[in-house]
Symmetry: C2
């Protein structure tokens, strides 16, 4: 493949090639989680690691630095806004890759693979002490990665990790947003729980719900919302995700034949992620500027579909007859009213992934504060269980009886995903802010939801979020364009009030 | 990744990395054929092409030539037999890659992709003239590839293409084997058809045969024969194949709910291929010496399971009660005797993939002679339909009424697979020769087949074929080790006689 004379064109060629490796990696990861026979796992892990290395080599190739320098120095005349933004995103990807020595990357990957295995056992056996050695190793390496990146970027160590998931994100800003939530949520939660106690308890529909019917309903809803099955799939995996390749977006769920409600809402969540992926700017799919604008923006889209849309009263009025038809259900458990009570139930609980949207932020604030302290050296890993219990008591209002239901519940830290947690709640705030702006832009957006007409909403998301890829410099810039202001907590609090106090959405 | 000082060790590292790309390509190809949503096809094709380029770049890297030269000059002391054979196979792979200029490879790939599309239409519309331009382009490029390789290898042009599928294969030798068959088969076929006409006609079982039952029976048989589902899968595709990755062997079939017999035997065929892949030498899976010893050897394993084993009378006696149980069948169509008549039916027919094992070689001899003449410049593409009809008349004894049922039936030439065809019949000869040797090595091998006990046969294949990978220099060397002599037609003719004249197997 010959590289042309223009540095920018050479960079586009190189990043297109990298995107092809990402396409391959995406499908191979999907296959790993959904399809691969178990005995192939070690071989596949090696293959994934090899493709990662090839990808890394293409990125840290000295030519790339030369092209970036030349392009940044203005060697290419007449670059348009998208091309300039693409160049900025190329530089960002390159900075992350070049900042960390290859052997540190390798050592981290190995330590994380080992620790993930140890974590599965440790969680099952509630054995934090047993996990401590391998988790210490992961943390130690994460701190080295953070140090290397912080030195290269000229920023705080935690911010250097955060930047990989939320470009331009800063812990100080998150701190301020989270402090506001930590101030608001305890009193609000009390109020909601009191009101909830005075209302009838929701009833879970009981019965046998065959997988093929659940799948059929899921596909029907996905299609209604705008998922393109000519460029995507719905499959099964132990841990639901949205993945796949460049123009091949694959979401997964897991089915419980005794309870359709969780899988159904899980499919809605992943459909939100998938809409973002399928709505990325067509001409830029294989370039950095064509990617989603960070993990908070990505989570905002899943929560916009799941929380803002699918758990709303109008959506559940649209859904109720569909689930009755699909499963032959009848009686008080199958009314829209009951489904609404079920899907908006609030409870102080121990497990993040099962938490409702009112208490969820407290789980995240806890993790954010703890991981920041550990990266900063202000909290020793050995002291984590105690700090966890204390934080749960203060923030959520319950205390785990053991570590399995406490600090061992998530794979993020064993897997090396330090700096990821805050994006969940940033996404929840952004979802509320975007949905509020969308509602104000056109009354048919909200009205359509009750009639299964999601076109107006999805059109708004395509034109205000999906289609912009990473052209806006960061998540705040995207939100400013779409909603007129950077991220704040206002819309989220208004949403919680409207849903849990007014019971109007 | 640092390369060690030893040239041989450096080569092992490099080829292991190439094997990882092959692993990725294998799974991505499988996904393309079985799973991928249609809209992703253009993107996936680009991704596959990019991985091909990365693979090619790793192979033609000048360092590889240096390492090969140093290793061949004896820089590594104490290489054992497997390592020396591995070095020989590395050199072979490198010679094929380096012989053809990159732009010729690219041009061929593009022309083949275009021609395959044109061929689908041309076959459907019986339009040879419409295919002529793009097929001429493919042939033209194949001749250039052949010329480049012939110059590099110092051999005949057709042999240079053949070598990619059958290392060390020579057209002159194939010519001699095929002349012998072409001499024997016409009279033999007449004799078989006369005897067949005097026997009762087979009856095809009629009914509705649900896919899940066909799949269940297929899996049961695969498992009985020794397929390892912890390192493999059975799936569905339009065109059955055996593919997948390094330790993840995936075969496919297609089901017809009105006829289980074809899919069932197709699964047996692919299981033979899969046993070879799953039986490759464990320590060498990711090295050239660990690969199957050419396409004829590969086909010998599929035919050994399908033709030598699964269409035998004892196997069908074992199978008959299983199919009766699976599909609830009863009556004359469901007896072992009838299944044997059905599965050993001989007929002069037009379509290669539907041909029986008696007439199949004639289809191959025709294609071999025609493609050799076209590569050599002795037959013009425009004259192909006439030459095809004449060859069919002379060799098979039937004449196609049109090109769709004639020279347009196979994808091999449009897809650039010139030099591949003879391996089908070389494989049939090898299957008979290997099976005959196996039977002579232990009576329990043949006896086991009638009782669904395939262990002795598969053990023999593992120790005489699968486990040797490409350690023997070529297919003849493999056969000499396993059967005491290079490939000949004797065992195949004895097999045909035993089955179709004596009706004893």
């Amino acid at each position: 493949m010959t590289e042309t004379a223009s540095p920018y064109a050479a960079l586009e060629n190189r990043f297109a090639r990298i995107a092809r490796i990402d396409d391959a990696l995406g499908i191979l990861h999907w296959d790993y989680e959904t399809t691969m026979p178990e005995g192939a796992a070690p071989t596949r892990a090696e293959t994934l690691a090899t493709l990662d290395v090839l990808r890394h080599d293409l990125l840290v190739d000295p030519q790339v630095a030369d092209w970036l320098d030349a392009a940044d120095a203005g060697a290419d005349v007449g670059l348009d806004e998208w091309q300039r933004a693409n160049l900025r995103e190329m530089r960002r990807a390159w900075r992350h890759a070049i900042a960390v020595p290859g052997d540190l990357v390798e050592a981290s990957r190995r330590a994380e693979a080992t620790c993930e295995m140890a974590w599965r056992r440790a969680r099952a056996e509630d054995d934090f002490a047993g996990l401590l050695p391998s988790l210490s190793e992961v943390l130690n390496l994460q701190r080295q990665v953070a140090e290397a990146k912080a030195a290269a970027f000229g920023c705080d160590k935690y911010d250097a990790l955060l930047d990989a998931y939320e470009p331009g994100g800063r812990a100080a800003r998150i701190d301020a947003l989270f402090a506001d939530l930590a101030d608001f949520l305890p009193g609000f939660t009390d109020e909601v729980l009191e009101a909830q106690a005075r209302a009838p308890d929701p009833v879970r529909p009981i019965g046998h719900f065959p997988i093929d019917r659940q799948r059929g309903l899921g596909r029907e809803l996905m299609q209604a919302i705008g998922f393109d099955f000519d460029h995507g799939r719905l499959d099964v995996s132990a841990h639901p995700f949205c993945g796949g390749g460049l123009s091949d977006v694959r979401i997964t769920t897991r089915y419980d034949e005794g309870d359709f409600t969780r899988s159904l809402m899980g499919v809605m969540h992943e459909t939100g992620h998938a809409l973002y992926e399928q709505g990325r700017p067509a001409g830029w799919l294989a370039q950095p500027v064509g990617q989603a604008r960070g993990m908070a923006a990505h989570e905002s889209q899943s929560l916009l579909v799941e929380m803002q849309t699918a758990r709303s009263r109008p959506f559940l009025e649209y859904l109720a007859p569909l689930v009755r038809d699909t499963f032959g259900g009848d009686g008080p458990a199958w009314t829209a009213d009951n489904l609404y009570r079920l899907y908006t139930r609030v409870e102080r609980s121990l497990i993040r992934v099962d938490a409702d949207e009112v208490t969820y932020p407290a789980h995240i604030i806890l993790r954010f504060r703890l991981e920041r302290a550990m990266i900063g050296g202000d909290l020793k890993l050995a002291d984590l269980p105690g700090a966890w219990a204390e934080g749960m008591r203060a923030l959520v209002g319950v205390v785990p009886p053991n570590d399995a239901l406490g600090c061992l519940q998530d794979i993020h830290w064993p897997g090396g995903g330090w700096g990821y947690f805050p994006t969940y709640t940033l996404g929840a705030l952004a979802a509320a802010q975007l949905f509020e702006a969308a509602r104000q832009d056109g009354s048919e957006i909200e009205a359509g939801i009750g009639h299964g007409n999601f076109g107006p909403l999805v059109d708004w998301l395509r034109s205000h979020v999906h289609g912009h890829g990473s052209r806006p410099e960061n998540g705040d810039a995207l939100l400013e364009e779409a909603t007129g202001r950077p991220l704040d907590t206002g819309a989220f609090k208004r949403h919680l009030n409207r849903r849990y106090v007014e019971r109007a959405w």
